[in-house]
């Protein structure tokens, strides 16, 4: 069975129901956003509301710094890829297409609705007049575009997904059935390559998250047992970061060896080289 990562546009209440229906129909573990955030927060000792804000609160002048947001979302990505590597799972999160990239047995689904439909839902849920509900939908979409650009350097669009499902005039059961049928197609079945790739990605995300939880930016890749980690850390924090990498890697069976490189991007280093 493939894993399903699903995103839904704001005010489409069907998103959680659809994810639950797919999980039931396929016998997969269900991960709602709240569960994913709670697990990530517990694993990395971070306040859940920070993770929630990093994923959903739009960037603002006095809000969360972009670097902090990216670091926090690393923890959510680590939790998603851990679940995918662990077996059949259905996860309902924002930016589903980007959370566990490059794994062929992950079906990425986007649940969308028309602006009218979403505005009606927003008006009902928030008791707003139609014009205000429509403004709220537009603001939500702009926020998602901005957050996506900060986190993944691109907007979250239909083109990033394997399957785009319109909820208009369709029952949740019909939508669940379409997703389950697509997930059962041979293209989305696990292969030796994709299972190994999922385990390696989960290991890489786990290393990045371990460092991110301590405020250290890093990018990691794992291939055939070798973990290559590039970390941005001040000289005073490098021994701490190296210990974190060693301790984390020792718990991950996909990692046999680690190569750790430091990236020095201090402005004064570049300035000195130009003199």
């Amino acid at each position: 069975m493939s894993s399903v990562l699903l995103s839904s546009q704001s005010f489409l209440v069907a998103g959680d129901d659809i994810a639950a229906g797919v999980a039931r129909a396929t016998g997969s573990e269900l991960g709602r956003l709240d569960d994913i955030i709670a697990s990530a927060a517990a694993s990395w000792q971070v306040a859940p509301d920070k993770l929630d804000a990093a994923l959903l609160r739009p960037p603002s002048l006095f809000g969360m710094a972009d670097a902090t947001r990216r670091r926090l979302v690393r923890l959510v990505m680590a939790e998603c890829s851990r679940r995918v590597a662990g077996g059949d799972t259905v996860i309902h999160v924002p930016f589903a297409a980007s959370m566990v990239p490059g794994i062929s047995h992950v079906l990425r689904v986007r649940v969308t609705g028309s602006a009218d439909e979403r505005a009606r839902a927003a008006a009902n849920q928030l008791h707003l007049p139609d014009a205000k509900a429509r403004k709220r939908i537009d603001a939500d979409d702009r926020a998602i575009d901005l957050i996506g650009t900060v986190l993944f350097q691109r907007r979250d669009t239909d083109a990033d997904y394997d399957l785009v499902v319109q909820v208009a005039d369709r029952t949740p059961e019909a939508i669940v059935s379409e997703i389950v049928q697509t997930a059962a197609e041979r293209s989305y079945q696990p292969t030796s390559y994709s299972v190994k790739a999922a385990q390696e990605l989960a290991a890489a995300h786990c290393l990045e998250a371990a460092l991110a939880a301590r405020g250290i930016d890093a990018s990691a890749a794992v291939k055939d047992g070798l973990a290559t980690v590039k970390a941005w850390a001040a000289v005073s924090r490098r021994s701490e970061a190296a210990k974190v990498v060693d301790t984390t890697a020792s718990r991950l069976p996909a990692i046999k060896k680690v190569e750790l490189a430091w990236v020095d991007d201090l402005f004064e280093t570049y300035a000195a080289s130009m003199r």
Partner: protein, 132 residues
């Protein structure tokens, strides 16, 4: 007499064929190796191989064409695609065309043994316990 499982290994790199022949023969498979994909395609038309293990990038004939030929001639046979250029899109294409599995090179002997054993099991052969 116990029926042996026939396996074709196709890779334009001779060393891969040699190594896989040793590994798979030890499991009890009857292995034929090919380096020239055109000769392999002719052989597939003549003889049913239960399992075909093929590289994907081999000059003018690629592994997906081999997969097509096997599916056309022997729909029950299992095809395992191996490649050094593993990508999500390629894995999906191979699976959509009916490959049994997709393996990225380099792999450990145990990985290919497990894949072939799984394919054999689907055909009714028990390679891990040495019987049908």
């Amino acid at each position: 007499m116990k029926e042996q499982i026939d396996v074709m290994v196709l890779d334009d790199e001779p060393m891969v064929g040699k190594r896989l022949k040793v590994i798979l023969s030890r499991m009890g498979c009857n292995v034929e190796t090919f380096e020239d994909p055109r000769r392999a395609l002719e052989r597939i038309s003549d003889k049913r191989f239960h399992i075909v293990v093929t590289d994907v990038v081999m000059g003018d004939v690629d592994g997906l064409q081999v997969l097509d030929r096997v599916r056309a001639c022997w729909p029950d046979s299992k095809v395992v695609i191996m490649t050094a250029y593993a990508m999500m899109a390629m894995a999906r294409e191979a699976m959509a065309k009916g490959a049994f599995d997709f393996v990225a090179k380099p792999f450990e002997p145990v990985e290919i043994r497990n894949v072939v054993a799984r394919a054999a099991k689907e055909l009714g052969f028990d390679l891990l316990n040495g019987g049908q």
